[in-house]
Symmetry: C2
């Protein structure tokens, strides 16, 4: 039995997807049952890297999602509103859907999965998180027999590339960003990447899977890397840390082992001890570290983006759907394989950042007076915050630069201490405050 | 609908498996449909970490594999012959089988899978390779849409633990092995681990999955770590390398992209560049690096052994079978899900080691004469072997110690050059020859 795929979009990932399906030799035998019957593009006259039979390419995307001969619609047009429209239309016509679109899922996943479950079709999205690395399937399957306690990801390749180069070259953010844009590793408008929004989309999806509920995207606390300076990276390195943009979802389970009542959900630059497995993830690579009981720590590492990697994940979803359909009878075909379905009913409560307990790195510009370290220490001490290390690393024309790492403290209390610090005569500015692992 | 599991064996992994299934709260909802109805043990009177209802424990294992109420038999007794007997009996009675037993699969997999496919039951073995790390499922599913070109694994925790400690402490093999035995990280008879046999079992399984054929276990070239000295580890470190016991399966595909006609299949200590992802895998951890087209490099990393990790993999297989059974009709129930089945017909040809092209590390004990490096270089040169680096690192009472790293050379030619080297007057011994990544 064969299955027909309709592709929406023939950009980088669409082209990669077509290349795999059109050249199935030496891959999973199930791929031989898959055909690309329609490909929807905006411009029919554009030169393409892949060749289709006459009539396959069309600019009528509405016709694809309604085509009775198509079993699976693969949405690779990106964006939010248009993608949502075609995904919902495909579901309404009884098509299974594969998408690489983290933005549409993190914003409209509830509506999409409700519609899909009501209609009895699968919606698969392995490519939406961590590109070619198998992450969602293991979470739904092998890792899911554990109690997952924490997921920590480097899930944005652009920011990891920038931070890696800043460390290797001692360069500043703006210079590396400009070069990354020139080389195609960063978009002309880099906001979604460098401000952490892309990572927030992805950790919302991972948290929903790991903790069995729905996530409001607005609940993800999100801080990007624009304010990281070459000085911070150098100081961190001297103290034995590497700065990485981490996306973190974690929760404490009740004694029963049931799902946590409340989780932490956040994206921010973090000082990682240099020996931490995630600290060795360099360049555009991604990695997802899963802490689970009784399993322990598992890390999944690889290319987080790119034509081949993302297409590999898209096609793996197609194959998973085809395998499931091949073992269901026609009457049964209601997308009920519990390892592929996505059922999430209630929303997960997310703890306010003020309640987070963390260590902090803080860089303070001060006047160069002998009393200054004492005053800073006393101010923190009045808020019950003890310091793990304090270093006066550099002296500028304007004064001294003091770097401190705190012991664990509630973030709300730490922010109050910071406010008070800024009222001290000797303190002229606090240019950097970063979380420490 | 519920499913009954019969456990054979209640040692470390069996206990861990029972703990997960008996305490399903907060895990994959499918686990709530799974019951342990019988547990076969040798000694009914032994104290156990888990409590079962009366009548569940039995010492009659034959009754378990024949019990009509049991759907899935989980073989955790280990060894080869007895395990094979019960696995085949379970299959003959129409049970699906889950096993953590790499030895029985690498030796008798062909017979086992033939019987299972003929009977229409699944045989699953995620726990047999790399403990709790999901490796076999991703290879069967997500990664399988790629053309897999190479699998490189650190898949024996005991040897990785020994090599890590030898490096950290500058200690010799024998001392660290003795301590590892004392601490329970190595068996009283360490042969299977330190001579690479356990890793050979596992890479045979991985190669069969990745390259779509059957493997004769005898075809795996296998060299252990007994001969690695503290000196080798120190010299390797000075040259920028870390020594790890690698298991490698790779093959060059024809232009069509079809499966390779012949593969390399080998276990041996290897000098890895210190920045290689596998070089950072320390202690008892395992990691599997998959190189695939168009995906690129993906690494799966985590605990390769231990009660919780291995049990996690066992239970993930149970859940995969239960999910597949739940979506098949009774008439259809013939274990035909192509993402779970194991179909391998023809044997894969394995290239002789003499044909391997590799760099080599060689340590040579010589008399301390000024001509000796020249003579060694000439001997290699006469065999067309050029040297990447030659270092005279240490001088003993007995003479000099010379360490050389070659450029790439066919192993057969390299061994001939070594034989000739040993005929030189100045050369007293060649205590170490190791592959270099």
């Amino acid at each position: 039995m064969g299955y027909n795929v309709g592709l929406l979009g023939l950009g980088t990932v669409g082209t990669g997807t077509a290349k795999i399906i059109l050249d199935a030799v030496g891959r999973h035998p199930l791929l031989e049952t898959v055909s690309i019957s329609r490909v929807g593009v905006r411009n029919l006259d554009k030169a393409r890297d892949v060749k289709f039979a006459d009539g396959v390419l069309t600019d009528d995307l509405d016709a694809i999602v309604a085509d009775p001969s198509i079993d699976i619609v693969v949405e690779l047009i990106g964006g939010v509103d248009t993608a949502l429209k075609y995904i919902l239309a495909a579901i309404a016509h009884g098509k299974h859907v594969v998408t690489a679109n983290k933005a549409v899922i993190s914003r409209h996943g509830d509506e999409i999965f409700d519609a899909a479950n009501a209609k009895g079709v699968y919606v698969m999205l392995e490519a939406a998180v961590a590109g070619g690395i198998p992450v969602l399937a293991p979470l739904k399957q092998a890792l899911g027999v554990n109690r997952i306690n924490r997921i920590t990801g480097i899930i944005n390749g652009t920011t990891n590339y920038i931070l890696t180069r800043m460390k290797d070259e001692g360069a500043d953010f703006a210079a590396v960003l400009a070069d990354a844009q020139h080389l195609g590793y960063a978009e002309a408008d880099p906001t979604a990447d460098v401000d952490g929004l892309d990572a927030a989309d992805k950790i919302a999806i991972l948290a929903s899977l790991a903790f069995g509920g729905r996530i409001q995207l607005d609940d993800v606390s999100c801080e990007g890397i624009r304010k990281i300076s070459a000085a911070d990276i150098a100081y961190a390195k001297n103290l034995g840390f590497t700065i990485r943009l981490l996306a973190i979802a974690c929760g404490h389970r009740p004694d029963s082992g049931a799902m946590p009542d409340e989780i932490e959900l956040r994206v921010h630059p973090t000082l990682l001890p240099a020996h931490h497995p995630l600290a060795t993830v360099e360049g555009v690579n991604n990695a997802v570290l899963v802490e689970a009981d009784p399993l322990g720590e598992v890390m999944l590492y690889g290319p987080g983006a790119g034509e081949g990697a993302t297409a590999s994940a898209v096609v793996s979803d197609i194959v998973s759907i085809v395998a499931a359909l091949g073992t269901e009878t026609a009457q049964q075909a209601s997308a009920d394989n519990p390892l592929l379905r996505w059922d999430r009913d209630s929303y997960i409560r997310v703890a306010p950042m003020a309640d987070l307990v963390s260590r902090f790195y803080v860089r303070i510009l001060t006047q160069d007076r002998p009393s200054v370290i004492g005053h800073i220490g006393m101010t923190f001490g009045q808020h019950g915050i003890s310091l793990e290390s304090v270093v006066q690393i550099d002296v500028h024309d304007r004064g001294a630069e003091i770097v401190a790492i705190t012991h664990e403290v509630r973030e709300g209390e730490f922010r109050k201490a910071l406010d008070e610090l800024l009222t001290l005569d000797e303190v002229s500015d606090v240019p950097s405050v970063l979380h420490v692992w």
